[in-house]
């Protein structure tokens, strides 16, 4: 079945776009904005609002009807998520298998000073009513805070004999997060420590796909819950050297 955007009639293609141009507002910039809309496949585009922003910039809001359509049957969705392991099973099963505490080391790396995200996952208080990893008896959590350089994180990982490493990156401008995360993996691999640990990254602009690409075992994006992370860790631990 082919599908288009919906406004108030099936497949009417109703869509809204907005953007600025580095040309002052005028007949020319208006035409350019409509041309762009047409190139995007928007039929009968209408400029519903335009504004001169000064310094030779202009802003446009355009509505129209998208002619592109998608065959939804052609869209494959990945195999259903493995069921979540709950608080008690995590502690029980991991305890059973390792009968020791699992060392979890977390930090925000590079010059990034955002800690609210990693704290939401690690700290007892947790996030949105979902308790953090510190509350799980089986985890021994070391929250190193922010602005930890990859080098010093590696040291800590080795000193603390980490089983699990959680890295947060929130600032993404100029892809600084990619740079930092890659550098970290390389250091860890260089130290021959990669196989000893479960390496996970997270942040509002990260996701599983990207994380795997970068050589991490898992990645978590905006609004992740500590319990999801805990469950993911537990599963990895249980799979490990079986």
């Amino acid at each position: 079945m082919f599908i288009k955007p919906y406004g108030d009639t099936l497949n009417d293609g109703a869509i809204q776009i907005s953007f600025s141009l580095a040309i002052p507002l005028g007949e020319k910039s208006k035409k350019v904005s409509l041309e762009l809309a047409l190139k995007m496949g928007i039929a009968n585009p209408k400029i519903t609002f335009s504004q001169d922003l000064g310094e030779d910039f202009s802003f446009f809001i355009i509505y129209g009807n998208l002619s592109h359509e998608i065959d939804i049957d052609s869209i494959k969705t990945t195999e259903i998520q493995e069921p979540k392991i709950d608080f008690y099973d995590i502690n029980r099963l991991v305890e059973e298998k390792f009968n020791r505490k699992i060392v979890v080391v977390g930090a925000t790396i590079g010059s990034d000073a955002h800690t609210v995200g990693i704290d939401a996952i690690l700290s007892a208080k947790g996030y949105a009513g979902d308790v953090g990893l510190e509350r799980y008896p089986v985890f021994q959590v070391h929250n190193l805070g922010s602005q930890i350089l990859p080098e010093s994180l590696l040291e800590q990982i080795m000193d603390l004999q980490a089983d699990v490493v959680l890295v947060s990156q929130v600032v993404t401008q100029k892809n600084i997060h990619i740079h930092n995360l890659t550098q970290l993996v390389e250091l860890i691999e260089g130290a021959g420590f990669r196989d000893h640990i479960i390496l996970i990254c997270g942040g509002p602009y990260l996701n599983k796909e990207l994380a795997l690409e970068l050589g991490y075992d898992g990645g978590f994006g905006a609004h992740s819950l500590p319990s999801e992370v805990a469950s993911f860790i537990a599963r990895k631990l249980l799979e490990k050297n079986k």
Partner: protein, 530 residues
Amino acid sequence: MNNSSKDSGILNLPRDLIDEARYLGKSIASEVHNKIKDLSTLSIERASLRMLGIRSANQEGTPWVNIFTEKCLSANLIENGALMILAQVCKITGKDPQQSTELVSEGKINLNDLIKVSNSEEIKMLCNEFATKAYENLKSKKKERVNFINTLSSGTKPYLYIIVATGNIYEDVKQAKSAALLGADIIAVIRTTAQSLLDYIPHGVTTEGFGGTAATQENFAVMREALDEVSQKTGRYIRLVNYCSGLAMPEIATLGLIEGLDIMVNDAIYGILFRDINSLRTLTDQEFSRRVLSFGDIIIVTGEDNLIKTVDAREMAHTVTTSQIINYYLALKSGLKPSLIGLGHAFEMDPSEDDSFLRELAQAWLVRDLFPKSPIKYMPPTRYITGNIFRAMVLNAAFNLIGMLTDQEILLLGMPTEALHTPYIQDRFLSLENALYFKNAASSLSGEFILKESSLIRKRAIEVLTNSVNLLKVINERGLFNALAEGTFASIKRPDNMGRGLDGVFVKGSSYYNPFLSLLPDNASDETEV
């Protein structure tokens, strides 16, 4: 919610000014009443037939009730009242009202062959029989309805009122259900343009409309059923609204009653000003309609918002107040309790004007303080909304905040795309999210403040009320009909001998009889003065 305006009123308006306004409103209303009390209209007669349960139409889709009343008219029998004729036919044919109506309409029976109806007691008895049966019938249906509603939560105030207007009733249903799930309390189905001008009720389920969807008995039923379903899903009772105005006003009222609508937009003045409907016709229709609605405990909402969108909202604010006061007393006369009179007003001043936010506050509080017992329908900015959807979100936020601060009961939500098209499905979500933020985050706001005696807001409110009282004086002197003829509102002149539907007005004959006129409630007292 803490309601600061239930007591003395936050504006603490000069008592004498309020009293004068009330006195004038009453006097204007009773003058109107005297002018129309001897009149009936074809639409009232059709509505009376529909009250008996007569429905459906011929091949061409002309409703039976229209054909029947036309025949009564051309047979010069109408002044007796359609029910008296119908009763006569039933008596002669021994058929029931529906069948008899169809027989006459199809020309199988010629009314002129009937002896002209004297107001024979016997026929009257038969009329009463039909009417009372129908009446009791509706009453018990209403009871069932109330029982159903009582199984659900009735939501919290202010009720969030959302429109749907795709033109296709099935599309409307989807959009309405989505809105209800996202937090809407009230769904209004906007009519296809200018249905007001139709002197009949279209028939059947419809999927083609301009700027709205046809108001038909069948469409009402489809939407009612859908909303009842989603009400049960959410546990919150979702109210249904449609328009009860235009040439078919009284019939729409009966359909609203029969199909379980909760609120109807009902305002003769809108029809007069914006639809050029004859003033005698529609004010007579309105009287009957409101009695029907009051029987059904259906809330009316008036159309002053249309006025304010037409004139300069700052200069002419007092004409809105004036129209509200007149509408209020007309409604009381028709038996509507204050709790059923939903006066309309709107946030429509030019937002670029200095301190316009304060003047909007003044207007909103004024309405609350003038009609403390009535559910006010507060309408969002529309006229100054442009294609800048982001700015529209901001102006609607200002509107929602005023709604909370002034403790309005019904908030009609503004859409980001107001200037562009009737709402898309996501527009409703964004508007509901906007309103729900303030409804929740500012739920106790209205009880926190006292207005300074010297405040600009209070000054402005008193100024508007004073101008309104002066205008009411003029209208009271000239009478509402003359006032309308002389262009008092929006400087649109509507003499009572012109306009649409005048030919449908007739003076009730000495033998005119319509049992519903005694069955339906009238003349409620104004609790605000108890």
